[in-house]
Symmetry: C2
Subunit: 288 residues, 2 copies
């Protein structure tokens, strides 16, 4: 059981790396040293680290040598409001890098990949309508992936993620901001808060990757499928915040409605794809 993880130094990726190690996998990550290793310091000496500098022949050689059974592809640039100068970063991270991974896979014995999409590819519940350019690059990558599936014998599962949360999440999410002002005099302006969020705990998200792998591994007739990693329950942002307030036992001073909704705010997530087989969201209560 050997896995290559991209994005292994990120929030979700680092949790996946640790889960794989716990399950006795041999793990390699493909890393960009400029992002550092803060999230995996405790396991850094137990994994293989390939620092990719854009020399694709080195990447190909690494894939041939390591000979993994699966790639978990989580690397992405998440820029929800990119400047024009940042477009190349979005495209390089979310399309080019993944294409190079697929090319290296084609040339190696590693033919299985579980990759990462977002429910933001389905604005208004449409089969495809991206909330933002980030979501569009995710869809674009799936179109590249299709080539490798059809022509190069790659077998894939795309996991469309919803809102991921967890105790140690240091990403700039609203929950961290709220915890920072809880119990203080500071107030915060927010939208009316009626948008529905489907929150899934990081441990459940990690399990979804494992379930996807098992399903792909055990069903050799599957070429390519898409699953959605969402919980059965869903609440509005306001309801989640009320719950957080109770959990913390502190008051949150929020001016609901002081800000408008974002342009293309997702008021109601769409659920176009089934959950991964043999996976269920276990942590149904949002405890932060």
């Amino acid at each position: 059981m050997k896995a290559i993880v991209t994005g292994g130094t990120g929030y979700i990726g680092s949790h996946l790396v640790k889960r794989l190690l716990k399950d006795n996998w041999e793990v390699a990550i493909i890393a960009d040293p400029k992002f550092g290793y803060d999230n995996i310091l405790d396991v850094k000496n137990r994994i293989t680290i390939f620092e990719y500098t854009g020399q694709i022949q080195e990447l190909i050689k690494f894939f041939r040598d390591f000979n993994a059974g699966i790639v978990f592809h989580l690397a992405a640039a998440v820029l929800t409001n990119p400047s024009p100068e940042q477009l190349p970063i979005l495209i390089d991270s979310n399309i080019r890098f993944g294409t190079e991974i697929l090319e290296a896979m084609s040339d190696s014995g590693t033919k299985l990949i579980v990759t990462t999409g977002t429910y933001w590819q389905n604005y208004n519940g449409e089969e495809y309508n991206p909330v933002d350019l980030y979501a569009a690059t995710k869809e674009a990558f799936e179109k590249i992936l299709k080539y490798y599936v059809e022509a190069k014998g790659i077998r894939s599962i795309v996991l469309r993620l919803y809102d991921v949360y967890g105790e140690d999440d240091r990403r700039p999410k609203i929950w961290n901001l709220l915890k920072g002002i809880a119990g203080t005099d500071k107030s915060i302006d927010m939208s009316p808060g009626e948008q529905i969020l489907n929150l899934v705990h990081i441990d459940d998200v990690v399990s979804a990757y494992i379930s996807a792998y098992n399903y792909l591994k055990q069903n050799s007739e599957i070429k390519s499928e898409v699953f959605g990693v969402y919980a059965e329950t869903q609440k509005t942002l306001k309801e989640h915040v009320n719950e957080l307030e109770k959990t913390l036992g502190k008051t949150l001073r929020i001016n609901w409605g002081a800000k408008p909704y974002k342009k293309r705010e997702v008021m109601k997530p769409a659920y176009l794809f089934k959950n991964p087989p043999n996976w269920k969201c276990m942590k149904l209560v949002f405890i932060n």
Copy 2:
């Protein structure tokens, strides 16, 4: 009537530039100086040339200043069998550059674009199945385009091109190879030749871009459509070659079947999209 043409120094683009000039348009091209200006030497001093070096703020300023009514986007890297090292070229040319064009459009008064796809996006007649990675990057770009249509008020038409030919085509196409050996002792090994080609003359292809513009301009309710630029008649490669032989009045020594078909050879083009409105392929005979 002001147009910005990308790929204006290429085969199809240069013909479009000349047609637009003939129709009294003011034309600007966005060029990469490394490809040279061989195809447009005769009109170079009648057009505006913006040499793009990757400084997107300069591109944005150019779009604002020139204030075109339409972008004809034909720039592409056509690499049908790219090496791993060439993947970034494919993605940069076929996805990133077009995204930057759309970004610059969003920030200017230029909201209409006619862009270029290929019938190779529909292998086996499927809604989407790319013949090769080139076709996959074309599909990927259409997914990026969708974002700008939905979120930024861009209105677009995609023209899916078939096999373009013309008297002055210097691209490495089979016809040039055949003309080179016609009447000589040289022979050439080819596949069995039963694959159907839908050949469209360059003048007709250029007219399709103009028809697409007129349709987009005259119908302000259209957000995004796709059309196919194909002829009513279609013949096999072998039939086309026989015709070429007659036209040239010279014998061609071809060993039909000495080579196998390519992997993922398109034996029968699919016609999933209508022709552009008010457009018809006029040159029905393949004369080369």
